[in-house]
């Protein structure tokens, strides 16, 4: 399974890229050989996606050189890079749902194909070449994710692509579909096409990649043939230190019931009931779209939900809006920091003070000094890195932005803290600080409901986890004593019922 060719198709030298407040890539160098499958692994925020977006022309690099197929790449657009034989297949797939398979493969090139008949005939040929039997006349909206991926691959082949980048292609495939994809990948390699395969599933990397590059915090840490990596070495290099230190110890003082939720029912959720204890971190585990976010939004009053009951300290509370929830002592960190959490053009101060307007107004009038006090207190308490409380919050890095949202709620000292993807897209160091804060909140007698798509995070932070599958709670586990596979089985809906 060694590389078929030895010449280099893509050569990246010392490429750097910064966004305001973030160094996304720092002197990244990488060579991809012709006819190999090159795996790139790294945690969220390691810079994988940024690098790929520079290759495909979505972003422009700040410094460095890229040579693709003997040609220096400067200021390309996605269209140009496609034309030059570099295709990228995004996780969220870029197809027009309302058009047919054939039309999607040759989108915008019907004339070159001599009309629709030629378009469909040529698309059929390409699909056959990768063993895909989907009719070219079917609407893309009717296809499964795996079939859509094949259409994307056919589209890439139609441009005579020499390099195809696949960004986490396996994240929504079943095991069987994955086998199909591996077959296609192997076949493409035999045809001399190079593939960059981005994933954080190590099994896949060890299964069919030839060469592996590890990225972390915008740097390339190492590039070696797969056979020279051990699994542990790969993990250590991805995370940057021994994994034991990645999470603080779980909160120790779990007490009596603080909140009880009884029978949330919506068109997506079915009979959601659970209890939350004082001093506890409760994790919700499930696939994206399983209903985790809907559960917490219902509790927080963010969506219109009727008929359920929320009891805090045994007394029923009526939560019809986030404002009610806030007054009942519930804080909420939404999953999308920029769209749902912050008012980006506003100052750090007014973003922090947003939930406590009543505390800095007297008789309806704003007292500037009180507001400034709130901002400065939280910035200091959470060590937010900002030149002053007056700068727009949009200028801060992701981790510091997230701290501002945490600070907003700490100001009103909620007893129940809902955190939906609290560490999404923030760097490893800031993550640890957020974990420490979570621990502190719990140790102070508060309770946290934690949702995260990063399984290790939920399993290592939570005292207890609930698995959610298709809008139902399918299990309750102690993550310390339960094998991960059991939890995943319940989260994937493979076996119903509580243990």
């Amino acid at each position: 399974m060694e590389a078929a060719g030895s010449d280099v198709i893509l050569s990246i030298k010392e490429v750097s890229k910064s966004f305001p407040g973030v160094k996304a890539l720092e002197k990244v160098s990488l060579d991809v050989q012709r006819g190999t499958v090159h795996g790139i692994v790294g945690e969220n925020g390691a810079g994988k996606s940024t690098l790929m977006k520079i290759l495909s022309g979505v972003y422009q690099k700040d410094a460095g050189t890229i040579v693709f197929d003997g040609q220096a790449v400067e200021h390309t657009t996605p269209h140009q890079s496609m034309q030059s034989g570099l295709a990228i297949i995004y996780q969220e797939l870029n197809l027009v749902n309302t058009m047919s398979v054939g039309e999607n493969v040759f989108l915008g090139r019907f004339k070159e194909m001599k009309g629709m008949r030629g378009t469909h005939a040529k698309a059929r040929e390409l699909l056959d070449s990768i063993g895909c039997k989907v009719s070219t006349y079917r609407l893309v909206s009717a296809l499964s994710v795996s079939e859509k991926q094949m259409v994307e691959i056919a589209k890439a082949l139609s441009f005579q692509s020499k390099l195809i980048i696949m960004d986490e292609p396996s994240s929504s495939l079943t095991a069987e579909e994955m086998c199909e994809l591996v077959k296609i990948i192997n076949q493409l390699r035999e045809r001399g096409i190079s593939i960059i395969y981005i994933s954080h599933k190590l099994d896949e990397i060890f299964d069919f990649c030839d060469i592996v590059t590890v990225m972390r915090d915008g740097h390339v840490i190492d590039t070696k043939a797969k056979s020279e990596f051990t699994r542990n070495e790969l993990i250590t290099k991805m995370v940057g230190r021994a994994i034991e230190n990645e999470y603080p110890p779980r909160p120790q003082k779990v007490g009596g019931v603080l909140m009880e939720v009884r029978s949330i029912n919506t068109h997506k959720l079915h009979d959601i009931s659970f209890k939350l204890h004082k001093g506890e971190i409760l994790g919700l585990v499930g696939l994206v779209g399983a209903g985790r976010t809907e559960i917490v939004r219902a509790i927080f009053g963010a969506d219109r939900v009727r008929g359920h009951e929320v009891l805090i300290d045994g007394a029923q509370v009526s939560v019809r809006s986030p404002r009610n929830a806030k007054n009942a002592g519930i804080g909420f960190i939404p999953e999308d920091r920029k769209l749902q959490g912050l008012v980006l053009p506003f100052s750090v101060e007014s973003n922090i003070s947003m939930a406590s307007i009543d505390r800095f107004t007297k008789f309806g009038f704003i007292r500037d000094s009180l507001e400034k006090g709130i901002g400065e207190r939280q910035v200091k308490a959470l060590a937010v890195k900002t030149p002053s409380v007056k700068v727009p919050v949009g200028n801060l890095s992701g981790g510091n932005q997230q701290k501002c949202i945490v600070g907003r709620w700490l100001e009103i000292a909620p007893r129940i803290f809902i955190m939906d993807e609290p560490t999404k897209g923030i760097d490893v160091g800031a993550k640890y600080e957020i974990y420490m804060l979570m621990r502190l909140i719990a140790e102070d007698g508060g309770a946290i409901i934690l949702i995260s798509s990063e399984l290790p995070e939920v399993l290592n932070m939570s005292n207890r986890v609930l698995t959610v599958f298709e809008g139902r709670i399918t299990g309750e586990f102690n993550p310390e004593s339960t094998p991960v596979n059991d939890i995943m089985t319940a989260a994937l809906g493979l076996s119903g019922g509580c243990e």
Binding site: L339, S350, A355
Partner: protein
């Protein structure tokens, strides 16, 4: 509005210039016109400018709140039509003060109705609000036509006292016209409301990011009701100032005020994206719009071309605003 700290001197000059481009434009416009046409500086023309200023500034101040709140209100033209014909018709049967109060109440009610339509339909984007309020505008205008049977009403037909309206139209307090004095009082109140009160802050947060504001417990529905009610109320004030000055009220009297008000707000530097802006900026915007048409009139530019110039300035202001955000 923005902090200029920690940037190079050149960048600061550039930023100040962009922020206060309107002021520079006003000064340049006045200077050029004064040179070309000496009549511009005459006392008569100054009074003329002050008078034109009255109705538009009232409507624009209200519009500023709607736009800061992240929405837009095209219904002010219809509101002005309705308030004008109803108020003038009530002076004789009800007396001046009840007519005045009724007029203002109708304006506020029209605004509140807009917000009720928007909230109940869940049309919480600016684009949806644009079409909804456009629809409401035609409804209000139709009521104005039905109520007045399409005819224009005149002051000289009113047999009872109309002294309040006459002094709004042409009276003076000290060196100022009454309408200008009203403007100063209203401006002061609205400025304090916008920048110093809890409601004002909630409006800014709603305009900055509705979703985030709601999830932080900000009362965004209330903010939406408040901005539209202020918008409708100020349109009514504008309507009263307007018909008092021209002493007649036709049911189409408000035509064009919605676009001119939006133009003035945006040119003043309040962003259409919501969240940021100020009633003070709107004063500058209105000044520019009025001065511009005054200058173009004095210079003898055709009305058709004037409309084109206005459109171009609106496009330029939005373009500049978008560049600033990027």
């Amino acid at each position: 509005m923005s902090s200029y700290g920690s940037r190079s001197a050149l960048a600061v000059v550039g930023a100040v210039l962009r922020d206060y481009l309107v002021l520079a434009m006003i000064a340049a416009l006045a200077a050029i016109t004064a040179m070309v046409e000496p009549k511009f500086m005459s006392a008569a023309n100054m009074v003329n400018i002050m008078r034109q200023f009255g109705p538009l500034i009232m409507v624009s101040l209200g519009m500023t709140f709607v736009i800061i709140g992240g929405f837009i209100d095209l219904s002010v033209a219809g509101t002005i039509n309705l308030v004008a014909v109803v108020t003038i018709s009530l002076i004789q049967p009800m007396g001046q003060v009840p007519a005045l109060v009724t007029g203002l109440a109708i304006g506020a009610a029209c605004g509140a109705l807009n917000s009720a339509v928007i909230l109940s339909s869940g049309a919480l984007t600016q684009a949806e609000a644009l079409f909804l309020t456009f629809g409401m505008s035609t409804v209000y205008s139709a009521f104005a036509l039905l109520y007045s049977h399409g005819s224009t009403m005149h002051f000289w037909d009113i047999k009872t006292s109309k002294s309040i309206f006459e002094s709004i139209g042409g009276g003076t307090v000290g060196p100022l016209s009454v309408s200008f004095a009203i403007f100063l009082v209203v401006l002061a109140l609205l400025w304090v409301f916008q920048s110093k009160t809890k409601e004002g802050r909630e409006i800014c947060l709603t305009g900055g990011n509705k979703t985030a504001a709601a999830l932080a417990g900000v009362r965004i529905k209330r903010a939406i009701v408040v901005i539209y009610t202020i918008g409708g109320f100020m349109a009514a004030v504008g309507a009263i100032v307007l018909f008092s000055r021209i002493t007649t009220a036709a049911p189409v009297i408000g035509a064009g005020y919605e676009t001119n008000a939006i133009l003035a707000v945006v040119v003043g530097g309040t962003t259409l994206k919501g969240g940021k802006g100020s009633v003070l900026r709107t004063v500058m915007g209105v000044l520019l719009v009025i001065l511009m048409s005054n200058c173009l009139n004095l210079l003898g530019v055709s009305t058709y071309l004037q409309v084109a110039v206005k459109g171009a300035i609106l496009v330029f202001a939005i373009w500049l605003d978008n560049r600033k955000q990027a």
